[in-house]
Symmetry: C2
Subunit: 347 residues, 2 copies
């Protein structure tokens, strides 16, 4: 318990394969990049570092997607390794693990039934986001760096059909594409270049970050080198990376070529998201009449909502409802709120 | 000149971004894996190592595709760096550089006009391969680890329309897909899993090597760890990698699931190659009446030929015509032959 107001202080951790997100019950949140699959043994240290950037907390709530990383032979092994690192990083502190049944598990139960904590973070976010649309059919559009969740909502509750990521990839509720990390080769087999359909190179030359840097949706950040070639996240460097997707270079690929290719890639992504959202909603709640948008790709989520919904439909933003930091770490924030609510009955 | 028979001895080098291939005029050839984009400064040493595996040679013939690597800011810079490494590795020895005008260039001319040596190796192979089909319209189907060349042939000569890789990606003559290195995310947005269309994860979890290991077309090699996760090239490990493409793991993805997913991926690749081959031939020579197949993916090239050609059409194999080693390093072998032929007029 905190000495101040008598309420326990919660730290929420959303442990992904490329980012660790942390939120504190005081409303602050952070996201730090960490490529877990490259150095899984550093996870404990990175968790400590993330926690050190926020105030102290008595209790921990944990959700994850990193168990799918190929450094773990199976998801069960991944869940066990990740929760082991959490226990080592925060010895003696109570840990509640979010599961796809919509309740928290003890560490022991989570390790025994790894299918429950595996990739459960979307359900925490959807449970909280659904409250922003208390009536009728709706959709949560949460676009991150790597993936998009398209969760049908009904009368203030999630109405998703999938529980595992495999099933969610079938229902349209999970699309493995986001606004930063998705390689262009995964978006399209060919895109127009100078008016002609042009097959793309299948190399990690460019990603959606380069698309949205070029289109001005993501601001340049010369200090960010989490790019396909390790170069800076600038418009100029993005052009070099996009050029290679059609086997060109800056000598033969103009700034106009870059904008045209980026627009076409954005349209390919939008078409994929639109098809998935329609598939997800059609079978679960029917045509959505409102949307909640969130994630670091909320700019794109708003555009998708405007194509998906009838004109004038409500579009609520987690940025507005929870503040931008909480929205950047939305799932971590959501488990903090849910854990505090469910605290009396936690394992 | 060689002291033996009075003919000069040639060493041909085909310098790619993932492999260096070398062929000697005595008919021997080798291929060594080298990820140039990760350590470009080691190129000189790797060239010496490759040459050391073959007999000594008086003259060098060079062709390349590695100038597209993102460790080089432009192709011009790449051509210059690669030829610099060649000159350092073999000081004082004459170097002839193959170009897309179908003739050899001096190192100086190649550096001055980098668009000529850039990605020119396909034309050397096609020039030699075309002689195996001396009459009528045909096609060279050269499937490698990373890319496929689909070169229209006419009366014993190449009839390609593209000269740059960008143009070749438009004509269908170059498809950026092969039988080992192509990530599954680049092959398809979704594939059937247990009878349902399932969106694929967009991560470097599995590649076409895993598809053809699973289907038995490529023999397992436990010592080969040039795989997406660095694990062995075995059927068992391939299953783990394929499972991740649908967010599953070996606990939830059977050997039958692996075969079904691999078959679907193979069909997606075949459909893409068939469409590109038809596009390439239609505009250049009309329907092909014969094929030459080559490359480490010649097993797939034969299947493509059987779908593309009228029944009973001649299908010639570079494996048979030149021997398997020369075919594995086909472009390197081709420039050796062409250089020896053109020797009196070389720069």
């Amino acid at each position: 318990m905190s000495p101040g107001d008598g309420l326990p202080l919660w730290l929420g951790l959303d442990i992904g394969g490329a980012n660790i997100k942390a939120a504190h019950s005081n409303g602050r949140a952070i996201s730090i990049p960490f490529e877990l699959w490259k150095r899984p043994s550093d996870l404990r240290e990175m968790l400590c570092r993330a926690a050190g950037l926020l105030p102290a907390a008595d209790h921990l709530a944990v959700t994850m997607t990193a168990e799918l990383c190929d450094c773990f032979a199976t998801k069960a092994e991944g869940v066990s390794a990740i929760l082991g690192a959490v226990s080592e990083a925060f010895p003696g502190r109570p840990v509640a693990v979010w599961g796809t049944e919509g309740r928290f598990l003890s560490v022991e139960e989570a390790i025994r039934r790894p299918e429950l904590p595996a990739a459960a973070n979307w359900l925490a976010l959807a449970t909280l986001a659904a409250r922003l649309l208390p009536e009728g059919p709706g959709i949560l559009i949460d676009i991150g760096s790597t993936t998009t969740d398209l969760i049908p909502l009904k009368d203030g509750l999630p109405a998703a059909r999938g529980r595992t990521d495999t099933r969610r990839l079938q229902t349209g509720e999970l699309v493995y594409a986001g606004v930063r990390r998705t390689p262009l080769m995964a978006l399209a087999a060919e895109l127009p270049h100078r008016g002609e359909p042009t097959a793309l190179t299948a190399e990690l030359f460019a990603a959606t970050l380069d698309v949205y840097l070029t289109l001005g949706d993501i601001p340049p950040d010369p200090t960010n080198d989490s790019t396909p070639d390790g170069g800076p996240a600038t418009v100029e460097a993005a052009r070099d990376r996009l050029a290679r997707m059609v086997a060109a270079d800056r000598d033969s690929f103009s700034a106009e070529d870059a904008v045209a290719l980026a627009r076409a890639a954005d349209e390919a992504l939008m078409a994929r998201l639109l098809a998935a959202a329609n598939r997800a909603c059609r079978a679960a709640v029917g045509p959505p009449a409102g949307a909640v948008v969130s994630g670091s790709g909320s700019f794109l989520a708003r555009r998708l909502a405007s194509r998906l919904l009838p004109p004038g439909s409500p579009v609520r933003s987690l940025d507005d409802a929870w503040g931008p930091l909480a929205s950047q770490a939305g799932c971590a924030y959501a488990i903090v709120v849910l854990a505090a609510e469910q605290e009396p009955s936690l394992p």
